[in-house]
């Protein structure tokens, strides 16, 4: 299968700090791929480079054959990449519905004049996009909350809303940055089901960063492991679990030796 996302030789320096070095990955269409590694390994930096928030120092990011390097973040989103953030970044003072409707902005299809003059075209498009947003909220079981402020939702629902919002940009590739962070075991189980569900329902490719081994091992088909900005292993969950370099990165060498 042809890759939807292909990253070659991606490198990022923050001054003298080497955050990511020579990162490569190929993600086939429809795959569910995980990226793991200890804190500070450079995982989120990779997401920030894919979505155009940081320009890479070197390397290229090919999305459906097109190089994304040098594009503005909104242009990258318009090409079909949605993402969530490690520390939730909703629009806190806007309603749940408006959070999702903002994601539909690029498909709104009416102009400033339509809005100010309230033309029939405005009403037609506004109704359509509101109904679309509401149907998204229903999928995520948030429809009863649509008129509440996003900041008033409990943590788990904020996470769900952020995923709903990322899906509303109608992406082909969804980047999830630690979706299970701060969740209890029951919520994590729900989340894993949800991720499977959205991939099948929206025919997506999912690339996710996760800290909790249970999540990554449970849902990812292939896993890439990073440490200190470099890839140290890649393979199926089974292979990763038994890879000595991964164990070393997570637990440290001394502990492994003593265990023997």
């Amino acid at each position: 299968m042809k890759p939807i996302l292909e990253i070659r030789g991606l490198t990022k320096y923050f001054g003298g700090l080497r955050a990511v070095y020579n990162f490569d990955i190929e993600i086939p269409e429809g795959a569910l791929v995980g990226l793991i590694g200890p804190n500070g390994a450079g995982k989120t930096t990779i997401f920030n480079m894919i979505t155009g928030i940081y320009p890479p120092t070197e390397g290229e990011i090919l999305f459906q054959g097109e190089n994304l390097v040098g594009l503005e973040p909104h242009e990258i989103t318009q090409r079909g990449i949605g993402r969530t953030f490690q520390n939730i970044r909703l629009f806190p003072n806007l309603t749940v519905l408006d959070n999702v409707r903002i994601a539909y902005h690029q498909h709104a299809g009416y102009t400033l004049m339509d809005a100010v003059l309230r033309t029939p075209h405005y009403y037609r498009r506004e109704r359509e996009l509101t109904e679309l947003a509401q149907s998204f909220l229903e999928v995520f079981n948030l429809q009863d909350r649509q008129n509440e402020l996003a900041s008033s939702l409990p943590y788990g629902e904020q996470r769900r809303l952020e995923i709903a919002r990322a899906l509303a940009v109608e992406p082909k590739l969804l980047l999830l940055d630690e979706p299970a962070a701060g969740m209890n075991p029951a919520e994590v189980a729900n989340l894993m089901e949800l991720i499977h569900f959205i991939r099948d329902r929206f025919k997506l490719t999912i690339f996710l960063i996760e800290h909790q081994m249970r999540v990554v091992m449970g849902i990812c088909e292939t896993i890439t492991v990073m440490d200190f900005g470099e890839v140290i292993a890649r393979g199926t969950p089974e292979e990763i679990r038994n890879d000595p370099r991964v164990i070393e990165a997570y637990l440290g060498r001394g502990v492994v030796l003593e265990a023997r």
């Binding site: 989103t77 408006d98 994601a103 902005h105 405005y122």
Partner: protein, 429 residues
């Protein structure tokens, strides 16, 4: 409800109500002028002027709230755009009023039309080139100069015949039409200048943008201090006199109502939500596919447009303009008003403006003679106390009345269910 009201998203009830409010004040003003007992004592010329000034200042503050309260860009330059609108508009009517000379009217009308046309058309071809920023800015400056050149050319060619044509009209009508056009021209000029200023400066975030705009306000004041070098009628620091006094109650009221309706319609649309998302989280907005630069520019330009329009009204309200009126210290007035009323609340801005006028001007009337200076003590103390009690401003982000978002898209059955639930609740209790 399939949609909101029929005209500009407002119901006929709203328009009738707005007209009635106009009428009530108009009648009160007439009675005040006729010195009818009681009403004549309350609605003196002075109070009438304060009410008109509240409407003008509310427009400036609404513009600033769009920039700072809704879009999150801290700007201190609003007063500069106010000044530009005022002087541009005053120059147009001054020339006609004093010399029956429509040259300024034509220069601005043609120049702005050409410049706006170029601004809209040229980027369609140049967008694909991905020019560096300074080249984009130079390109826009060239377009502006081209517009000005065409405007001046049109004016030298057409001033004679158009002037002769306008002199055929009844004198009052020609003056009113020129006044209306001059206010629009002042507003559009302020908008164009804010666009060119915002292009390089808007990418500065937070306080840095605030300082840059403060600098802009100071530059504008110094320019008008020395404007007599090019425009002798502006008389530089001595102040411009001889502007016709044309800002009547119907004009200010109509401009304020239309500003409010336009801003409300903007905020409750996809464009408005894009503006809000920039304030809420710029990074998240970008990742949602929103061109944040575009929406920062849009709200800055529209906010300046409102300030420019208000400036045109101010010039013909006072019939006198001096650069000192646009000293940067004064630019804190709209800032105080919007923070006090609630950043991100149009209702709050109106309430804030009324509070501002009521304490600073109203107390002048209410306090016993000889103690008027105490209002400058009462005003800051009241500000302090209210900000301590309500840190988000009077209204926070809430809106009242016609400024609220109407949820007309709710499915009918949802509305029905809600109504049923309310009825049951009422019965239960």
């Amino acid at each position: 409800m399939v949609r909101e009201g029929r005209f500009l998203g407002q119901s006929w009830r709203f328009w009738v109500g707005a007209f009635l409010v106009y009428l009530v004040f108009q009648v009160l003003f007439w009675l005040g002028d006729a010195e009818v007992p009681v009403i004549g004592a309350i609605f003196t010329t002075y109070i009438q002027d304060v009410i008109k000034y509240v409407c003008i200042l509310a427009m400036v503050a609404l513009g600033l709230n769009l920039i700072y309260g809704f879009n999150g860009q801290f700007s201190l330059g609003q007063w500069g755009f106010y000044a530009i609108g005022a002087y541009a508009s005053a120059d147009v009517t001054y020339r006609w009023y004093q010399n029956s000379d429509p040259s300024a009217l034509i220069v601005l009308l043609v120049g702005e039309a050409v410049a706006l046309g170029l601004f809209l058309l040229v980027p369609r071809w140049t967008r694909g080139l991905r020019l560096p920023e300074w080249q984009v800015l130079s390109l826009y400056l060239v377009m502006l100069v081209a517009g000005a050149a065409v405007g001046i050319g049109a004016s030298t060619a057409l001033s004679g015949p158009i002037g002769a044509f306008l002199r055929l009209w009844p004198e009052g009508l020609a003056m009113q039409v020129i006044f209306f056009l001059s206010v629009l021209e002042g507003g559009v000029l302020a908008a164009i200048i804010s666009f060119l200023f915002g292009l390089p400066v808007l990418k500065l975030g937070g306080d840095y943008f605030g300082i840059a705009t403060l600098g802009f306000g100071m530059i504008v004041k110094v320019l008008f201090d020395n404007a007599d070098a090019i425009f002798p009628e502006m008389k530089g620091a001595r102040g411009m006199v001889g502007i016709p006094r044309l800002t009547t109650w119907p004009w200010v009221y109509a401009f304020l109502v239309l500003t409010l309706v336009a801003m409300r319609n903007l905020i409750y649309s996809s464009e408005g939500r894009a503006i809000l998302s920039v304030r809420e989280s710029e990074i998240a907005a970008k990742v949602m596919g929103i061109d944040t630069t575009r929406y920062k520019t849009l709200s800055f330009v529209l906010g300046s447009l409102f300030a420019g329009l208000a400036g045109g009204l101010l010039a013909h309200y006072q019939a006198f303009l001096a650069p000192n009126m646009f000293h940067f210290i004064k630019s804190f007035d709209p800032l105080i008003i919007i923070v006090f009323g609630g950043l991100g609340s149009m209702t709050g801005t109106l309430a804030g403006t009324i509070f501002w006028a009521a304490t600073l001007e109203g107390l002048r009337v209410l306090l016993p003679t000889g103690t008027e200076a105490w209002r400058l003590v009462i005003y800051p103390v009241a500000l302090l106390v209210i900000m301590l009690l309500r840190p988000d401003g009077l209204l926070g982000k809430r809106e009242w009345g016609f400024l609220r978002e109407r949820k007309w898209w709710l499915k009918p059955e949802v509305v029905e269910e809600k109504a049923k639930a309310q009825v049951q609740e009422a019965r239960g209790s």
